[in-house]
């Protein structure tokens, strides 16, 4: 009992200490106390299965074993990487991670709660008081799960990338890649889908928002990185924002989906990704139209100013119709097909200045002619100077 209390207190101090300390070395005293308390507790219960159950885990924590089995104090078999403190620091984190991983299998039954963690701890042969190390709302369990899923996703994407590099697989087009990546990641939720709404609400607690947000952003960044995104301008943000939106909405749809193998969700995902691709196409088309319009206005302005200064040679001679580079119809290229973005060439304004005199003169010429044809020279402006204008060909 006293040991359990000590463990809980030590656990709380541990938790608060860890929350505060980020970059500095972990206060060795607390680590020692906490792990010592745990060890005392586990020794008390004398759980044999401890060593055997830890073998159930894939276990590359050789450093973790030693402090667990021996009593506190200087460890003769210390592997001496920076001393006792860092070894305990490692084993503390690793221990917590092992408990949480073990707890995951109890989540479908108990939800994301301290009960699941307690059950997990029991599997490892620790006392249920080990659950006192964690918050009662299961935040750490959920964050641990999310971070594990992200790691698995990264591995998956890395493997795929290697296959493509070795030439054993085709490079997928961007929309298919994004779809597959998001689907793979969401499929990892399937075993826990019943209790996932609870997890989402916990992740949205103000206390957890920084962590959950950073896990989300790093996952999205990973997906785009493996999709081949090499943007270095504002596109970087747009793409990630859009993909985040797609991911979140698909996740919510998945929670409500009751179709076999979540078909409706994957169809929803496909449609959203297609929408996003269309959006980027439309955006680039709007941009080229906008540029053309601006060019036209600039051309009009200069032509009108030429008229004012009575430079007939610019108007009466049919202008050469050079194809304006801006007016080229851009192929509806998918701007998300991560082609290298062309660098900003000579500034757009420079282009405008250079091209004003030529392309739209025809158009403006036509406009002016039709204006004169319609009426003004016919008499209503007799008193103005319009009649003196070389354009006023009619009387």
């Amino acid at each position: 009992m006293a040991a359990a209390g000590a463990a809980r207190r030590a656990g709380w101090r541990l938790w608060r200490g860890r929350a505060v300390v980020r970059c500095q070395h972990y206060p060795p005293l607390r680590a020692l106390q906490a792990s010592a308390a745990l060890r005392r507790v586990s020794d008390e219960h004398k759980k044999e299965p401890f060593t055997s159950s830890s073998q159930h885990q894939f276990d590359p924590h050789p450093a973790g074993h030693q402090p667990e089995q021996e009593p506190q104090g200087p460890h003769p078999s210390c592997t001496g990487q920076g001393g006792q403190e860092s070894e305990d620091y490692e084993s503390e984190e690793q221990l917590q991670r092992r408990i949480l991983t073990a707890a995951l299998e109890f989540v479908p039954e108990h939800g994301w709660t301290a009960e699941a963690i307690a059950e997990g701890a029991k599997t490892l042969g620790l006392s249920v008081a080990a659950a006192g190390m964690f918050h009662s709302d299961g935040s750490e369990l959920i964050l641990h799960f999310v971070s594990e899923c992200n790691a698995k996703l990264s591995e998956l994407l890395e493997k795929e990338q290697k296959l493509v590099q070795l030439g054993e697989a085709e490079k997928k087009p961007t929309d298919e890649f994004l779809r597959d990546a998001v689907e793979a990641r969401l499929r990892m939720l399937i075993p826990y889908i019943e209790k996932w709404p609870q997890a989402l609400s916990v992740l949205l607690l103000p206390r957890n928002i920084p962590s959950s947000l950073s896990l989300l952003t790093s996952m999205i960044d990973d997906i785009w990185h493996y999709a081949g995104d090499q943007s270095t301008d504002f596109n970087w943000y747009t793409r990630r924002a859009v993909l985040t939106g797609i991911y979140n909405t698909t996740e919510l749809v998945m929670l409500q989906d009751s179709s076999p193998d979540f078909e409706d969700t994957w169809r929803f995902l496909e449609n959203r990704v297609a929408d996003a691709m269309n959006m980027s196409n439309t955006a680039s088309q709007v941009q080229s139209t906008g540029e053309a319009v601006v060019q036209g206005l600039m051309g009009a302005a200069v032509t009108v100013s030429n008229v004012e200064t009575l430079r007939p040679e610019l108007l009466l001679s049919p202008p050469m119709l050079n194809a304006s580079p801006v007016l080229e119809v851009r192929a509806p290229m998918d701007t998300w097909e991560v082609a290298p973005v062309p660098e900003p060439e000579q500034g757009d304004f420079l282009k405008l200045f250079q091209l004003t005199s030529v392309p739209f003169q025809e158009f403006i010429h036509f406009l002016v002619l039709s204006w004169t044809a319609l009426c003004p020279c016919r008499g209503s402006f007799a008193s103005s100077g319009v009649q003196n204008s070389p354009l006023c060909t009619q009387e």
Partner: protein, 221 residues
């Protein structure tokens, strides 16, 4: 799954931030340790100090982008004058710098600053505005900006040298090269009578203040 069990120093644990080496970099890192970084599953390449490198590359990329736009603005106004070729040549060098930082940004997976669209406009306006003050005005702007940038690069070189010159050899080489280029631009500006601009010191101070603010913001945002 061994990747999952990699040392906690590298893996994010329970959503807490990790900091590989909270280097005491004087300028690039604010007092009080590195700012929270997204918990990333990306493996720390070669054990470099991610927060510091992130900032360095982000702010340098923003700087070259802005310099690009400044020269574009100057060319738009003075392109056909006698200093046109000079400015064009300096602009071409800046384009090379920008290209190099684009590559570094992709290689180190650094995010660009959110303020890029703003620097796009502000840079052009600064370049065009200073060019409207005449050729000397444009040169004065160049001098001010290049001096600011070479000081900034010097600070970064100092930071990286303090951390570990061997680890950051490639980056150091790039920054040193660019610092030399910028100094050259500064000298060209002086040669072309930048100091003869009316209100030279006022203009220079104002522009350098702006540059300092831009550097501060781009490092963080």
């Amino acid at each position: 799954m061994a990747a999952v069990a990699v040392a906690p120093a590298v893996r994010p644990s329970l959503g807490l931030r990790r900091c590989l080496r909270c280097g005491p970099g004087p300028r690039a890192v604010p007092a009080g340790g590195a700012a929270p970084r997204p918990c990333s599953t990306r493996a720390a390449p070669r054990g470099i100090d991610r927060p510091v490198i992130d900032r360095i590359i982000r702010v340098d990329h923003a700087g070259e982008y802005g310099a690009n736009r400044i020269y574009a603005g100057q060319m738009a106004v003075l392109g056909r004058s006698s200093v046109g070729p000079v400015i064009q040549q300096m602009w071409d060098q800046e384009k090379d710098h920008l290209k190099k930082f684009n590559e570094l940004m992709v290689a180190y997976r650094v995010r660009p600053t959110v303020l890029l669209p703003f620097w796009n406009v502000a840079g052009f306006v600064l370049g065009a505005g200073s060019a409207l003050l005449g050729k000397k005005g444009a040169m004065a702007c160049t001098v001010a900006v290049e001096e600011s940038i070479s000081d900034h690069y010097n600070n970064q070189i100092r930071t990286l040298m303090e951390e570990d010159p061997e680890k950051y050899k490639e980056l150091l080489q790039v920054i040193k090269q660019f610092r030399d280029d910028e100094r050259e631009h500064h000298d060209i500006g002086i040669e072309h009578d930048a100091e003869a601009t009316p209100a030279y010191s006022v203009l220079k101070t104002a522009i350098q203040l702006g540059c300092k603010a831009a550097i501060f913001l781009s490092e963080r945002i």
